[in-house]
Amino acid sequence: MFSIEHGVDGKVVVAGRLDAAQAAAAQTFLDGVDGTVTLECSGLEYISSAGLGVLLKTQKRLLAADGKLRLAGLKPHIVDIFTYSGFDQLFEIVAA
């Protein structure tokens, strides 16, 4: 189960499992956001390299237009994946 939608305060809320099967849907959604966007991740249970690829592509596009993705509320095991992949160096990660 995976969901991505607009929440309050301009945040984007992701939840569930962002895997290879869901990557395309997530990409389509994120292609439609602009500026500095906070991704509310406290409901994100799982992410694989396919999901990381979606975030990377979005981050590059937003940075080029002086925006960025900000990731909030990552669960510890998701933080592990960001650390092992070096993605903690590519995103601003904040507490929920």
């Binding site: 895997d19 799982y46 990377l56 940075l63 993605f87 160096q89």
Partner: protein, 575 residues
């Protein structure tokens, strides 16, 4: 040496005579011929009736009379008599009347019936100032030896010493080479009977270690699936050298033959024992473990002829059972009666540990033995790992312990572990199988009682590998098989991909995670992550079935360790 004698210059005729005889010294390559040539030369140049050469046997501190016509070889302490005096002083001794000289030993004359009148005793010293021996020249024809003879003899002795030393050293080399060749051959025979690979036995992980000593020892092992079950053998023949290497090989061949002819464990053990008792030398025997494991019901039955201790690691309690031999060593004597074999059941995680004396008895530089406790410690510390890893750990542990101490004996081990049951399911190559995969892992974790905290890591690994297989399967339409087994403190995951090209996931390049964001691409990240999140990743490829087998092991302890060790990046794109 040449300074000792105030010699007159040698005449041209003398020189020619010496050169003439010493030419003959260049040819012989064996000691007997060379000694004959030396004595012949001395007799000819010095006009003597007889000659003899005592060779210096430095290790034994003796002088050995190798050649003297009509006299058997004699050994004397190197300080004794005229030869001893000469060997010690390295000075020529000229005795014109032997029976008037107290140093003369008349016993040789008595034994031969020959009467020695006068005698020259000469030290044989080579170019390196090494004492090779002592030459004696007896009874100058028509008189006694004079100063000229002494000078001539001294010049000749130098030539003889060098020639003799050359032959002795060549001999030693040849002997050493012969021995080395023979050992090598015995070693080859011994090694050729060892199984080339461990048989694949469902529910079992088997590894063997064979680390031969430099000179041949007498270990062997055998692991083979035969009609009677899984045959497990560990043998160690007494002694070192060629005989033990060959006799264990013989035992192994006899065992295989007995089982092929339909023998059961008792018959095979008794028959091989009796055959060996009849054929082995009186003082030789072979300690051996001979077991049959039924891999369906996991029952092991074995006999041990003097092979001990036999260890069984019990996973449930983390402790060891220790078994004694059921009989005396094989071949020691014929068997009158045989006790029943030991029978035991292996449960999941249990390990049969067969280790030869060479491991237990390997000493360190202080002369302490590696011992059973260290074997147990190593097994305990690696019980959750694959047996190939335990085997490597055992060898590393023995080596670390022994340090610079020499390996005196073959080190052999056979390790047999019963694996936890694997739950396996096949998944079609399609992204829409990711959801059923996730359901499968969750259900299996629950069923096998695996720590649910490991689930996200396992899901990531499964998805990344499965996704790669879907993407790069190269048109294979074979399903991907995913297996999950509980291991000590964690989970073992296997993915089998059939009808594909080899792609070693353990060798895929790492991602440079320090790259600036503009240069980073998502490719390769999956394998990069897996290698960091799993305790171990193994890849095997079977050419015949074009099958890729990936095995991952992930433990709670490993995840905690890596989490603690992982530091966040040193910089951030927003710093």
């Amino acid at each position: 040496m040449s300074e000792v004698v105030r010699q007159r210059p040698l005449s041209r005729r003398d020189l020619e005579a010496i050169l003439d005889v010493t030419k003959g010294l260049a040819a012989p390559f064996d000691l007997t011929t060379m000694l004959g040539a030396v004595v012949g030369a001395a007799k000819q140049v010095l006009h003597a009736e007889r000659g003899s050469v005592w060779l210096y046997d430095a290790p034994n501190g003796e002088l050995v009379l190798e050649v003297a016509t009509g006299i058997k070889p004699v050994r004397v302490p190197w300080q004794s008599g005229l030869v001893g005096a000469c060997a010690r002083s390295r000075v020529i001794i000229n005795v014109p009347d032997c029976y008037a000289d107290p140093r003369f030993d008349p016993s040789v004359d008595k034994a031969s019936g020959y009467r020695t009148r006068c005698m020259l005793t000469l030290p044989l010293v080579d170019h390196q100032d090494v004492l090779v021996g002592v030459m004696q020249v007896l009874n100058k024809i028509g008189g006694t030896f004079d100063r000229d003879d002494e000078a001539l003899a001294t010049a000749l002795a130098a030539q003889c010493a060098v020639a003799l030393q050359r032959v002795r050293m060549t001999d030693a080399l040849i002997e050493g080479e012969k021995m080395r060749k023979a050992l090598e051959m015995a070693r080859e025979v011994q090694m050729s009977t060892l199984p080339a690979a461990m048989p694949a036995v469902p529910s079992y992980d088997i590894a063997a270690l064979f680390h031969p000593a430099e000179l041949t020892g007498g270990d062997t092992y055998d692991v083979a699936l035969i009609d009677q079950g899984l045959l497990l053998v560990l043998g160690d023949a007494t002694g070192h050298g060629i005989a033990p290497a060959l006799s264990v090989t013989q035992m192994q061949a006899m065992l295989r033959m007995a089982f092929r002819l339909g023998a059961d464990l008792e018959q095979a053990f008794a028959q091989v024992n009796d055959r060996l008792a009849d054929t082995l030398a009186e003082d030789r025997f072979i300690t051996a473990f001979i077991g049959l494991l039924d891999p369906q019901v996991h029952r092991l039955r074995f006999h041990s002829g003097g092979q001990a201790p036999i260890l069984v690691y019990r996973a449930a309690t983390g402790s060891f059972e220790r078994y004694k031999p059921t009989s005396f060593p094989l071949g020691a004597m014929r068997l009158a009666a045989l006790r029943p074999p030991v029978a035991l059941d292996l449960l999941p995680g249990d390990i049969l540990v067969l280790v030869s004396d060479g491991v237990y008895e390997q000493e360190n530089v202080r002369g302490e033995a590696f011992g059973e406790a260290r074997v147990c410690d190593t097994v305990l510390a690696n019980a959750g790992k694959r047996m190939a890893e335990l085997q490597a750990a055992l060898l590393a542990s023995v080596r670390g312990f022994s340090g610079d101490a020499a390996q005196e004996d073959d080190m052999t081990a056979v390790l047999v572990k019963r694996l936890a049951p694997t739950v396996e399911r096949a998944f079609a190559r399609s992204f829409d199988q990711i959801a059923p995969l996730v359901t499968f892992t969750a259900e299996t974790f629950d069923r096998l009682g695996i720590d649910p905290l490991l689930l996200p890591t396992v899901d990531l690994a499964v998805e990344e590998l499965f996704t790669n297989m879907v993407k790069y399967g190269g048109g294979s339409d074979a399903a991907v098989r995913v297996g999950i087994a509980a291991i000590d403190g964690g989970v073992e995951l296997t993915l089998v991909d059939r009808d594909v090209e080899a792609f070693d996931v353990t060798r895929a390049p790492d991602v440079d995670i320090g790259q600036p964001i503009d240069e980073r691409e998502p490719g390769g990240l999956g394998l990069h992550l897996i290698r960091r999140m799993a305790d171990s990743v193994e890849y095997r490829y079977a050419k015949d079935t074009r099958e890729s087998l990936i095995t991952l092991r992930i433990t709670s302890a490993g995840v905690a360790r890596r989490r603690a060790a992982a530091k966040g990046g040193t910089h951030n794109v927003f710093d």
